[in-house]
C-alpha cells in the first residue's frame, strides 16, 4: 500500500508533500517515512496518508470539470455523513522547484469537493496550481514528544552531508616521503 508523506522542516514551516512510501499499515508507513525522509536534516514532524484517501485536483482539472459541468465528486468517499474537518494542501508556485503541495489550513465540510470549493474561495491571495484535500482522521502523525529521538540525531551525522566536505583540492592528502 502506498502512503503519501508530508514533512515539516521547522516548527514555523508548513508540512509539505515530499514523496511516498510503501507500508503495510499506518504505523509501518510512518516509521518508513522517518527512515526514508528523515535520514538527513531537517525535520520536526511527519505525516502519512494513504494515497487512495487523498482528493486531488490540479488547476487544469478544475478548469476542465467546470467547462464540462462535472461536479468532481468521484473520489475518495467520505467515511461517514455530516460535516468533518479536512486538511487542505496547495501548490502555489512553479518557481520553487522543490515545492509541491503544502498544508495551508483546515476547513469544515461534508465532502472533499465541498472542502476544496470552500478552501478555494478563502484563498484568493495566491494561485492554486494543485490542491489536495484530506480528511483529518486519515492523517497519521508522528508524536511531537518523540521528535527528539526521531529527527534530531540526523543533525550529528555530518559524514553524509555534502556541505561538510567543502572543496577537495588535489594534493590535500599528500604524505611526506619518509
Amino acid at each position: 500500500m502506498r502512503w503519501e508523506v508530508f514533512k515539516q522542516d521547522t516548527p514555523k514551516k508548513a508540512h509539505q508533500a515530499v514523496g511516498s512510501v510503501h507500508g503495510a499499515d499506518a504505523e509501518h508507513a510512518l516509521l518508513n517515512a522517518r527512515h526514508v525522509f528523515g535520514r538527513r536534516p531537517a525535520a520536526v514532524s511527519m505525516w502519512v496518508v494513504r494515497a487512495d484517501r487523498i482528493y486531488s485536483r490540479t488547476a487544469e482539472e478544475l478548469a476542465a470539470e467546470s467547462s464540462a459541468g462535472a461536479d468532481g465528486t468521484d473520489t475518495p468517499p467520505a467515511t461517514g455523513t455530516g460535516p468533518r474537518t479536512y486538511l487542505v494542501f496547495r501548490k502555489s508556485s512553479h518557481r520553487r522547484s522543490m515545492t509541491f503541495v503544502e498544508h495551508v489550513g483546515e476547513v469544515e465540510a461534508s465532502h472533499p469537493r465541498d472542502a476544496l470549493v470552500s478552501a478555494m474561495s478563502r484563498s484568493a491571495d495566491g494561485e492554486g496550481l494543485a490542491w489536495w484535500v484530506i480528511e483529518e482522521g486519515d492523517v497519521h502523525r508522528s508524536d511531537p514528544d518523540a521528535a527528539e529521538s526521531w529527527f534530531e540525531p540526523a543533525l550529528d551525522k555530518t559524514y553524509k552531508q555534502q556541505s561538510q566536505y567543502g572543496t577537495v583540492a588535489p594534493g590535500a592528502g599528500k604524505r611526506s616521503a619518509s
Binding site: 516509521l31 518508513n32 551525522k157
Partner: protein, 259 residues
C-alpha cells in the same frame, strides 16, 4: 549529575576495558546489520536497517572516543588493527546475520539492553561517558520503536514468521544472557559511581523483553543464565570470520597512513 573527578588508575583501566567492549559490541552489530544493505526484503526496510547500522557504528565511534580521551588510543586502530583475541565483543553480536527474524530480534534484544543500560550510564560519575550515553539514548528510543514494531509483525504475522522468530530466539537466547554478564573491573566502576544501579540491569532488561515478546505471542522460556563474569576474550569462529573480512583492506597495506 556528579561532577567528574580524576579517575584512579585502576578505575581508568576498568573503564577503558568496558568502553572497548561496548564499542566492539556496537561495531560488530552494526557491521552484521550492514550486510543487509542492498539485500533487504522491502526497499524501505533496506533503508531502515542501513540507518540502524549507521547508528550502532556511530555509537562504537563514540565509546572508542571516550576511551581515547582516557588513554589516547585511536578508534580506527582499535577497530581495524587489533587481532580477534584482543577484541572484547560478545558472541551475541558476532553471530552471522541469519534471516530477517534473527536480525530483527537480535537488534530488538540489543535495543532492550540499551534501553536499560543507557539511562544508567547517563547518570555515570564519569561525565564524558554520561554525555555520550545521553546522546545515544535518543536514537535507541527510536530503534526500540522500530524493532518493537517488527517483533509484533514477526510474532503475530504468519505461521512462518512466528516459527522463524521462535527459532531465532532459541538460537540467540543463551548468548543474550552472556551479553549481560559483568565485565572484569565492573566492580570497581560500580564502586566509583561510573556504573550506577548496575546490578539491577539484567532483571530490568529481561522484564522489558518479556513484556514485548508476550504481546507478540512469543515465549522464549526461562530467563537466560547471566554468568557471574563475562569471558570476552574467547575467540569465536564468527568473530574470526567477521574481523577477517572487516580488516582485510585496512591491514593489507601496513604503510598506509590514511584511508
Amino acid at each position: 549529575m556528579t561532577p567528574q573527578t580524576e579517575l584512579d588508575a585502576q578505575v581508568s583501566q576498568a573503564l577503558a576495558y568496558r568502553l572497548t567492549a561496548m564499542g566492539d559490541d556496537e561495531l560488530l552489530l552494526g557491521h552484521r546489520n550492514s550486510e543487509w544493505t542492498g539485500h533487504g526484503p522491502v526497499l524501505e526496510e533496506d533503508i531502515a536497517l542501513s540507518n540502524l547500522a549507521q547508528d550502532e557504528i556511530g555509537h562504537a565511534v563514540m565509546w572508542y572516543g571516550v576511551r581515547g580521551e582516557l588513554d589516547g588510543s585511536d578508534a580506527d586502530d582499535l577497530a581495524f588493527r587489533r587481532d580477534p583475541a584482543q577484541f572484547l565483543s560478545s558472541t551475541f553480536v558476532e553471530l552471522p546475520r541469519g534471516d530477517w527474524a534473527f536480525t530483527m530480534l537480535r537488534q530488538f534484544l540489543f535495543d532492550c539492553y540499551e534501553a536499560e543500560s543507557l539511562p544508567r550510564l547517563a547518570r555515570s560519575a564519569h561525565r564524558p561517558l554520561a554525555d555520550a550515553a545521553a546522546k545515544a539514548q535518543r536514537e535507541e528510543l527510536f530503534h526500540l520503536r522500530h524493532t518493537g514494531l517488527w517483533v509484533k509483525r514477526l510474532g503475530l504475522g504468519t505461521d512462518e514468521s512466528h516459527h522463524r522468530s521462535v527459532a531465532a530466539l532459541t538460537a540467540m537466547w543463551e548468548a543474550f544472557g552472556r551479553l549481560l554478564a559483568p565485565l572484569p573491573g565492573d566492580e570497581q566502576l560500580v564502586g566509583a559511581g561510573v556504573l550506577p544501579d548496575w546490578s539491577t540491569l539484567p532483571a530490568a532488561v529481561f522484564a522489558r523483553v518479556r513484556a514485548a515478546l508476550a504481546a507478540a505471542d512469543l515465549d522464549p522460556g526461562e530467563d537466560p543464565v547471566v554468568p557471574p563474569l563475562a569471558q570476552r576474550n574467547t575467540v569465536s569462529e564468527a568473530r574470526t570470520e567477521l574481523l577477517g573480512t572487516m580488516q582485510a583492506v585496512a591491514r593489507a597495506d601496513p604503510e598506509a597512513v590514511t584511508w
